[in-house]
Every structure is written in structure tokens, then in C-alpha cells.
């Protein structure tokens, strides 16, 4: 696999990557505002955004499409950030919150809360807690490689972590199926949402804003630790001997990854493979310097999910596909292809 080595120091292209991706993100959101059952031409979208809400098109754009597009951007960004962090922490380009069962754990917790008739905010909290608990479980099972005092043995065992995660994912999938089998007929449709991931319900402006804010905060924390993370990529032994407090940084970033996943699942269910595909494509463009890769992957993941969701809700209109179906159909071949390259 000939992945371009990342530009050393002050590569000319480097400084334009983030602005270009930010512009892509904005463009993807504008596209999402224009496309749908009612086509909104460019001029009307701009007008609506500038506050001219004089017709029904403006209402659709502002009250339905804008919150959904912003939610999609936040969810895609959070999943991509989580995936990029997990890939670096596990030193495995195949790591992803969905593959590792973290999204599944969050969905299980949310479904249990839903079955118990809990309020929406309790369900959202349960979902975040589910992500955290699942990642803790993974860390506990993989402690020999993640948190061992013997760093040499840890480096040698690192490849087993992904397999542990895949087994946890299988467990959460089975639990979700069990919950679905036990659920009353009338609830089924709303529960399938958690299994596949769907943005149809994400039309609340405040929630979208909070998710975007959380994305910014978590990305900022990750960015602060991106320099030592660059060293952790090359093994715990190497990073430690060069002066990185590997264990402390890994603890912080594991929590960041779990919170990002939990928040994304809360909003949109267990959308798969965005956290894996987005960092992978971004890596091919910007390389492996985490200081650039983490923000770039978050922006690209956001834009990717906005586009995927726009396609999902228009491709077989008037029916709307859950976006998770689309990302899985896209993600699985990419995953298998990458596996072949190794």
C-alpha cells in the first residue's frame, strides 16, 4: 500500500488542508439544505439562512433540514474523531467504535432505558454511559496490552485488542437482537433505529448545537494530546523511553473516544463504519501526523455523513433509508479491502 508519507515540517499543502475540509463541510450542509422532496434552489436557501422565512420552503430548510444536517455533521465528526483516536491508541488502522462494540454497547444501554420507559435525557445519558462502560470492559480485557507495567509484553499483545473488541461487538449485537425479540410489536420500528443508526429523528436544534459544541471540545482535547499520540503510534516502549507518559495520555484519550461515540449514538443510533472510513480516507490525503489527521478526520467525517444522509433520504424517495444501512454498505467493502492490503 503506497500511502504518501506525511509531509515533513512545513509541507506546502499542509496549511490548506483544514480550510479546504471546512469548506467541504459547509458545502455538504448547503447541499443537504437544497436537496429533498421539495427542492430548494440556492437563492431560497441563502434567503432562508439570512432570515427571510416567508414561505413553506424556508420552514422546511430551517426547521427540518438544517438541524438534521448539523446533527449529521456532528455525529460524523464525533465518530470519525473516535475512530481516529482508537486507531492510534490501538495502533490498528481497522479500529472503529462500531467494530469494537462501543456503539453497540451504547445502543444496548439506550434500549434498556427505552424499555424501562425512561425519559429522553435519561436514555441519552444511558447511551453515553453504555459507550464508556463498553470501552472500560475492552480496556479491562485488554489490560495486558493497554495498561501493563511491562510495556514490552504490552506491545507484543497489542494486535489482540481488536479481536477482543470484535467479540464484544458480537455480544452487544446478540443482546440487541434479544431486546428486539422481547420488545412489543409496536415498539419495533423505533428500536430498529438503534441497531442501524438513523438521523430521521435528529431534528432538534438545541441537540444539534450541543453535539457540535461537544465535537469542538473533544477535538480540542484530542488536538492538545496529538503530539504525544504521534509517538504512541510507534509502540509504548518507544513512546515511553522518549518521554511520553503513555498510560496517562491513553486514559484521557480513551475517555474522549468513548464520550464521542456515546454522544454520536445518542443522537443517531449505532451508525457503523464512519469512524473507520473517514480517518482512513483522510490519512491517504494528509498522512499520519495526528496534529493534522485528528481535526481533518473530524471535518471529513462530518461532511461524509451529511452527504450519506442526504443520499439516504432521497435515493428511494419518498421512502427514507436509515443512513446506517448506507454507511455499512460502503464501509464493509472498504474494511475488507484494507484487510487484504495488510
Amino acid at each position: 500500500m503506497t500511502v504518501p508519507a506525511f509531509a515533513a515540517g512545513s509541507g506546502r499543502g499542509r496549511r490548506y488542508v483544514i480550510p479546504a475540509l471546512a469548506a467541504t463541510g459547509v458545502a455538504s450542509i448547503v447541499l443537504a439544505l437544497m436537496v429533498g422532496s421539495v427542492a430548494a434552489p440556492w437563492s431560497e436557501v441563502i434567503g432562508a439562512l439570512r432570515g427571510q422565512r416567508d414561505d413553506s420552503v424556508a420552514a422546511i430548510v430551517l426547521d427540518l433540514r438544517l438541524p438534521r444536517a448539523l446533527s449529521a455533521f456532528a455525529v460524523g465528526g464525533l465518530l470519525a474523531l473516535s475512530g481516529a483516536l482508537l486507531q492510534a491508541l490501538l495502533r490498528n488502522p481497522l479500529a472503529d467504535p462500531y467494530v469494537l462494540g462501543i456503539s453497540g454497547g451504547a445502543a444496548v444501554a439506550a434500549l434498556i432505558a427505552l424499555a424501562a420507559g425512561a425519559a429522553l435525557w435519561v436514555m441519552q445519558l444511558a447511551s453515553a454511559a453504555g459507550a464508556l462502560i463498553t470501552l472500560m470492559l475492552l480496556a479491562l480485557l485488554a489490560r495486558r496490552s493497554l495498561f501493563s507495567r511491562d510495556l514490552v509484553a504490552g506491545d507484543d499483545a497489542a494486535s489482540g485488542v481488536l479481536l477482543t473488541g470484535v467479540m464484544i461487538a458480537a455480544l452487544t449485537a446478540a443482546t440487541l437482537s434479544l431486546l428486539l425479540a422481547l420488545a412489543p410489536e409496536g415498539r419495533l420500528r423505533s428500536m430498529v433505529f438503534w441497531l442501524l443508526g438513523d438521523l430521521a429523528g435528529a431534528t432538534d436544534k438545541t441537540t444539534a448545537a450541543v453535539a457540535l459544541l461537544l465535537l469542538a471540545v473533544l477535538a480540542a482535547i484530542a488536538l492538545v494530546l496529538a503530539r504525544p499520540l504521534n509517538l504512541i503510534l510507534r509502540g509504548d516502549v518507544a513512546a515511553f523511553t522518549q518521554g511520553v507518559d503513555v498510560e496517562r495520555i491513553r486514559r484521557v484519550l480513551v475517555v474522549v473516544a468513548a464520550l464521542a461515540t456515546g454522544c454520536a449514538v445518542t443522537l443517531a443510533g449505532a451508525i457503523g463504519f464512519v469512524g473507520f472510513v473517514a480517518p482512513h480516507i483522510t490519512r491517504r490525503i494528509v498522512g499520519n501526523d495526528q496534529r493534522l489527521l485528528l481535526p481533518a478526520a473530524a471535518l471529513f467525517g462530518g461532511a461524509l455523513l451529511v452527504v450519506a444522509d442526504t443520499i439516504a433520504r432521497t435515493v428511494v424517495a419518498p421512502l427514507q433509508l436509515p443512513v446506517g444501512v448506507l454507511t455499512a454498505l460502503l464501509g464493509v467493502p472498504v474494511f475488507l479491502w484494507l484487510l487484504q492490503q495488510r
Binding site: 503506497t2 510495556l151 514490552v152 503530539r227 498522512g287
Partner: protein
């Protein structure tokens, strides 16, 4: 213990394995390495050379006793302080993602922070010293094991620590590069070198002192001239060595019986 010792082991014990398969590698090692000395650790497979180096680097816990750097116990130094004292070269590299050779060597400059003006020059020198300058833009994952090993040694050099710990630094090197690496280590201006080696003649070329680990928990340490002899090597490896006069120091030849002639047809 005198304050002059750069690295010292006090009453150090190292074990591997759990319960039934437990094995004592080193027992009560009392050992002092002084500034500028070049120590070679020799011993048969599984004698604990890599384990001792890992313990000296602080990446593996010790089972008993302590390790001291310039009077300060290793366990009392934080990660950043340890990184100013020693660099470690292992023979296992993890390159799951692509990165250029130059970027890989640059990781050694982490301890110097963001405004490290000398980084580029130091990295260039380190690469040139180990015949890797031409590899600077290459992807580390495309290198041969020998090239990757020299990049790892260059990385340790770029960390600019007084102590260099190296686990079999010439295991993947061709004859020319074996000499190149050994001589670079000999010229490492005032740095203290502790390296494990399997080639006794490479050890003779590099060492001022030697630490012999038998793998049965006992050890001996002393000047290279006293320990790197045919007699000691024969006893250590359980196979005959003989000294042959060479152009400089005598060459130690391994006198293994020729299996090709004694093998049954």
C-alpha cells in the same frame, strides 16, 4: 556506591514466567557503569539480556533491588526525566501506519518541546552517521530489517541522552554495516553505551567492559580484556572457542565440530 556511577544496579533480581514456569534470570546483580564506558552484555539465548536492558530502560518492572541513574533511583524519576537520561534501541519495531524515516527519527526530539531549533540538524547528522541519509524521505514500512534497525539506532542517537541502551544493535546488519554501527558507538563522544551482542568479536571491537549472564541467575562483570577471552566464552556458551592472532586484537574462533562429516548418511 559512589556518585560517579552513571547507571548502577543494586541487588537487582529479574525473573520471567509465572508460578510453575518461573525462572530466575539474574539474582542480586550489583553492577556499576561509569560515564563513557562501553559495556557489552553477553550470554546464551534466554539468559536475560533483553530483559535486563528493558529493566534498565524502565519499561519493565524489576522483581527485586533497584536501578539508579546518577544517584537517583529510576523509580523516582518521572517519564520526562528518564527520557533525558537514557535512550533504548530494541529489535522490535511497530510501524502500523506509514511515516517517513525523517519523521520517525524526529520523534526522538519530543523531549525538547515544540521550539526545537536544532532538530533538523541533529536528525540529519544521526541519519548520516548510520548510512541512512539517503533513506530520509522513504516510508519506514518499506525498509529492510537492517535499514530499519539503523534508523532505530539513529533515532536513539537523536534523543541526545548520556546513556544509550541497545538490544542486539547489529543483529540485522551486513558485515560492512556491523563495523559502521560498532565504530559509531565507539565514537559516541562521551556517551555511555550498554549493548547486548551475540558476536563475541563484535563485542571485542566495541566493549571496554563486559557483563556475562549465564542464564542460571549468576553473572560476572569486569574489564573486557579480562572477560572476553576464549576460556570465558567457551564456558559461557558451552561450546569451544579458541583465540587466533589477528591484525589487532586476537580473533575468537568458534571451534564447533563439523557436523557435515560426522553426520550419518
Amino acid at each position: 556506591m559512589t556518585a560517579a556511577a552513571e547507571v548502577a544496579c543494586l541487588n537487582l533480581s529479574l525473573r520471567v514466567g509465572r508460578s510453575a514456569g518461573r525462572r530466575v534470570l539474574v539474582r542480586t546483580l550489583d553492577w556499576e557503569v561509569r560515564a563513557g564506558e562501553r559495556w557489552v552484555i553477553l550470554g546464551p539465548n534466554g539468559a536475560g539480556k533483553s530483559t535486563l536492558l528493558a529493566a534498565l530502560a524502565g519499561v519493565r518492572p524489576v522483581d527485586d533491588g533497584s536501578i539508579v541513574y546518577g544517584g537517583a533511583p529510576l523509580s523516582a524519576l518521572d517519564v520526562a526525566a528518564q527520557a533525558t537520561r537514557r535512550a533504548l534501541v530494541t529489535d522490535r519495531w511497530h510501524d502500523p501506519f506509514s511515516a517517513s524515516v525523517k519523521q520517525t527519527v524526529l520523534t526522538a526530539r519530543y523531549r525538547f518541546g515544540n521550539g526545537d531549533a536544532r532538530a533538523a540538524a541533529i536528525v540529519h547528522d544521526a541519519l548520516a552517521q548510520f548510512d541512512c541519509a539517503h533513506l530520509a524521505p522513504a516510508d519506514v514500512r518499506m525498509l529492510s530489517r537492517g535499514e530499519r534497525q539503523r534508523v532505530a539506532i539513529a533515532t536513539a542517537f537523536a534523543q541526545e541522552t548520556p546513556v544509550l541502551l541497545l538490544d542486539e544493535p547489529i543483529s540485522h546488519q551486513d558485515p560492512r554495516h556491523q563495523v559502521l554501527v560498532l565504530d559509531a558507538l565507539c565514537r559516541a563522544h562521551g556517551r555511555t553505551v550498554v549493548a547486548s551482542l551475540h558476536d563475541v568479536n563484535a563485542a571485542v571491537r566495541l566493549a571496554t567492559h563486559a557483563l556475562l549472564l549465564t542464564g542460571r541467575a549468576d553473572w560476572s562483570a569486569g574489564p573486557a580484556s579480562e572477560l572476553l577471552t576464549a576460556q570465558h566464552m567457551s564456558a559461557l556458551f558451552g561450546t569451544p572457542f579458541a583465540a587466533q592472532p589477528g591484525s589487532g586484537a586476537p580473533v575468537l574462533l568458534h571451534q564447533s565440530p563439523d557436523v557435515r562429516e560426522s553426520a550419518p548418511l
